[in-house]
């Protein structure tokens, strides 16, 4: 089953230092028009070629005079000056001829006739004159070497007659997607295909870092074909990225190809994710093998490819802004690796709370949803809950401060609300994680979240939500924002091919079920129904298969992967599936009373009361919004 290759385990710093010491990269320079140079980095100091202004000019609208001729003028003793003899009219910026040495402002003139004026005060030499070189002096430094050119620098350079400027050239970065399973976006997908999105993302990242990405065609897992593509890219580009095949599996050819064409310096770095990175060189060009898993790829792009590009263009190393936050959950970590943990941040009360993104967050979506990265050093087994940690920010601090954190039960309407908060370019954001109703209650208790959507039936009273809050959240004053009533039921394929009529049928017909995760209100509802029917979970095929959202359940049924699952009406209709109603339930928003005063929460309530929201609910179907936005104090 293939040969096992052991990867090295360099520390990240050591790996970068070793790699940079081996690379023979030469920064390339180019001369470009100054007017197109914004964002480029100077490769030499820029000195002004002329003075600006390069002549004495008027600083005012008025008349240019010889100051000596104005001596003695005062309120009692007006002096008459004659045009073209004693003065000429000048506007701001007009040059001052040699015979004049001062300007009198138009406001200080009394018109006598077309050709003469009276003045009632004298001017000092050089008064109201902008002297030559006032702005920029010939031969003076405008910007130093290694300076990133801004629009204002362009002003000064062109004013100083520097019309061309030598800058570091952007590197062309070749991107080679490899993998027999890869297909282009837009292809007709068949089972086993993977859409090649990494290479597109790399191209956008390369641009962000200051390079120019050049995508090559997808190469199948074929040693010779990969070799040909790497050769071509190394000839045509300044830096080459190969994705993926960087691991040590059966069809991981990247390292061997680089080794044959050039040199592999490092294969394996003690980081997680991202360990199987390859740092090599072909034809004196850096060639980097990047793992295929999107989060690993992201870590390698940020921590290896970015510094290489920055070095190439003379850019200072990028530093993420960071923020101190309180960790809401213990983070486990391996002693062997430096770990990068995706974090959700929220300003809950007066503290920034950092919550590691759960497994349920997916891969690419976890990067979309992450607000920051927690770096856990090697040789640390984990970081305790409630520790203060430093989080590298992936979003604006202001956005984080204005984000409502929403952790709890899932409903597609949460997405609708998140969008409605933004649709007018609003100042507030909604960021949600789906961990089920009980998870939401725990997140509230832990101060991880502002709001928790829940739908928890009290079996004794037949009422929803209130008793759970009372039971689990102690004495702190709480409120419930009424949201929607919705219908739960069995989601089945279109046409209900197994003719399911009740939960009992799932067991009796030995159907493949898909369940929700522990703590989800919908799972509790299923368990409650099983108990009532005296059915053991073991009798349900697929009871162990856990999904995190109604849509995930519906997708598993829609794809023919399962026969049925419990979920809400809107999830079934969104996926074009059929639905057997079981019960109505109340899906509400639990919140600490004090948070009701937050501007963002007021906006949230406005939205769920709005016609726009109700329109969207009607489109989805299966919702009753008659109480939306009402508040119950607990």
């Amino acid at each position: 089953m293939g040969q096992k290759v052991y990867l090295s385990n360099y520390e990240i710093e050591d790996a970068l230092n070793l790699y940079f010491s081996k690379l023979k990269m030469d920064k390339e320079k180019e001369i470009i028009d100054t007017e197109n140079s914004a964002g480029k980095i100077t490769s030499m100091p820029i000195y002004s070629k002329i003075s600006s202004p390069f002549y004495n000019s008027s600083a005012m609208d008025g008349i240019a005079v010889d100051s000596e001729k104005t001596l003695g003028a005062n309120e009692k003793n007006h002096i008459i000056l004659v045009e073209n003899e004693d003065y000429i009219v000048v506007d701001t910026g007009d040059p001052i001829p040699k015979e004049y040495d001062a300007v009198i402002m138009v406001e200080d003139l009394i018109e006598v006739d077309d050709k003469s004026v009276k003045i009632y005060k004298s001017v000092a030499p050089y008064q109201n004159i902008r002297p030559l070189g006032e702005d920029i002096v010939e031969k003076s430094l405008i910007v130093p070497s290694n300076h990133k050119i801004r629009p204002v620098d362009i002003s000064a350079m062109i004013a100083g007659a520097v019309n061309e400027v030598e800058v570091y050239k952007k590197p062309v970065v070749g991107i080679i997607p490899t993998g027999t399973e890869l297909v282009e976006p837009g292809s007709n997908l068949k089972i086993g295909d993977i859409i090649d999105f990494n290479s597109r993302t790399f191209k956008a990242q390369v641009y962000e870092y200051g390079g120019i990405g050049k995508r090559y065609e997808i190469v199948k897992d074929d040693y010779e074909k990969i070799k040909d593509s790497v050769k071509k890219a190394a000839e045509e580009c300044d830096i080459v990225l190969i994705n993926a095949g960087s691991s040590a599996g059966r069809e991981d050819y990247t390292a061997k190809v680089i080794e044959e064409l050039g040199k592999v310096y490092i294969h394996g770095v003690a980081i997680k994710p991202g360990k199987p990175v390859i740092l090599g060189e072909v034809y004196n060009k850096p060639v980097i093998g990047i793992p295929g898993y999107p989060v690993s790829a992201y870590v390698i792009m940020e921590n290896f490819v970015r510094p290489i590009i920055e070095n190439f263009i003379g850019e200072k190393p990028y530093k993420h802004k960071s923020i101190k936050a309180i960790l809401s959950k213990r983070v486990m970590s391996s002693l062997k690796y430096f770990e990068f943990v995706r974090i959700k941040l929220g300003k809950v009360g007066d503290k920034i709370v950092a919550t590691p993104l759960s497994r349920g967050a997916g891969a690419t979506m976890s990067l979309v949803k992450a607000d920051g990265i927690l770096e856990v050093p090697q040789n640390i087994e984990g970081i305790e809950k409630q520790s203060e940690v430093e989080i590298k920010l992936l979003k604006d601090e202001e956005e984080i401060n204005n984000t409502i954190v929403c952790i709890g039960s899932h409903d597609p309407i949460i997405d609708v609300i998140a969008d409605l908060m933004q649709v007018k370019g609003g100042a507030y954001y909604l960021s949600s994680a789906h961990v089920g109703s009980m998870g939401g209650i725990m997140a509230l208790k832990n101060n991880e979240t502002h709001i928790a959507p829940i739908h928890l039936l009290d079996m004794e009273t037949g009422k929803y939500n209130v008793s759970y809050i009372k039971k689990y959240i102690g004495n702190r004053p709480m409120a419930l924002i009424k949201c929607v009533k919705r219908i739960q039921g069995i989601i089945v394929p279109k046409g209900n091919p197994n003719n399911i009529k009740s939960i009992k049928d799932i067991r009796d017909k030995k159907l493949k079920f898909v369940n929700r995760q522990r703590g989800a209100g919908t799972r509790l509802l299923f368990d409650y129904n099983l108990k009532k029917l005296n059915i053991s979970p073991k009798e349900i095929q697929g009871y162990e298969r856990e999904e995190y959202t109604h849509l995930q359940v519906a997708a598993a049924i829609s794809n023919g992967d399962c026969d049925c699952g419990l979920g809400i009406y809107s999830a079934a209709t969104m996926m074009g599936l059929d639905f057997i109603p079981i019960c109505n339930e109340e899906y509400d928003i639990a919140i600490f009373k004090e948070f009701l005063n937050m501007e963002s929460i007021k906006e949230f309530i406005n939205i769920i009361k709005s016609d726009k929201f109700k329109e969207k609910l009607d489109e989805l179907g299966g919702y009753d919004y008659s109480e939306s936005g009402d508040i119950i104090y607990i």
Copy 2:
């Protein structure tokens, strides 16, 4: 002399609100390829079209099995599985066929032969399987409306089969430079010409704000020609900028042209600089008249054009990061205007010190040198020295923290040092202001600066610098970093046409002199010499004309504007001028002793001791660097 037009005096907020209420701007949308969408802003919510993965796949390298067949396997009871009967081999990411429901990792297999393996533990259903939709679920929200697309969003969108995305279109912003005096960069310059750099800077700014700049040809100050150009631009573009002619002078046609073609809503806002802005509309396109003075133009671009472009593309209003700082000098301000004051910042000791840029800083160069902007509200007469103020940052806070502030006497070698600090992409910066030696001493006393270059002769002892420091800086321990010895003398045109031999000749031959500003060591040296010769300043023609640097003095002579000035040898040679030596002097760096421990100061001392620095001094000529970098404690 032309008709006086009175400008309005709207407050900045009111002006913007009124203007936005009048504009009929429609955000334009376009559909673009997702892979090219980074940096664009979504005009609608983006929902995933498919699940990703869209099939169950292996999370490990290993074998796919039916979990039921593994039941009962343990260390004592191995179970043998046969390929293609009980399992198939899968790599990470491979799809799992329907008949299997779990994966056993390759590490947990014992090879029996080519076609069979032994297992010693069972697997649970769905173990090591990445379920369909684990990353993204069909129909779930990827990013909301009004979201600026990042590379990671591109990953998720393409993975979700969203290959095209609707975004706000960048506006095309027409830029019309007007002015009879304007010439293109690279033209043969004659007195009165002004190089058109504003329009180039606008183009770079428009790009930074998110638009596409389109420069039109320079239009002379001719009403009809300006009208034609504005008409054309309003037809072809989404927004039009006219520069300049926005004021109320004789040849300021902009407002009249806009009024004829469309509507002027506002002409004049209570801000300084930037008051004579025009906010109008032609063919339903925003048309803005921007003043010509570069600093005014900058204020208008940042405060009016930026919000208009942001609004067009759905971008959130840009907020400069700001920082609290201690004002080192009183800022005077008019009650009539909201003022924008350019500020130099420095971390001196543990405080960030804000020093308003002096008049000598020039116009475009003051924007290049500014670290931030202090906004002084209307209805305030000024802000007292030592007040805590909020400064909007124009540079990275880290750059400011790593910048040596250098205020004092000018020498071209300060530019050389500033560049040498950057030439290897170093972490430290040097930012200088030229206020003369005494100005430097006062800046030290005021805690405005880290270092002060000075050259002050003690007339009694004939020694330089030390006695001044003792006299003016009280008891705080000081040091002097020895820098260079240099030659002062009379700078005269090439060939010394007036045959100057001594300072006395300046009076005797009635030559046009150019002086340095009050507090400059070179001015003190001149005064000292005049006194020795019993010459009154009144006898020197041009004594009142003050320049801030040696290069400015040399430039005034080089351009034939003056006959002579006092300055250093290197300034004369840089401008190709002749030089009559007067004396040698010691140009040293005064510093508080405690700052010698700063890493940036250590780097500064390394540089002035370096061969590279000495090479540059030899190129300039007239410097003795035998003691460069030596430290004298005072």
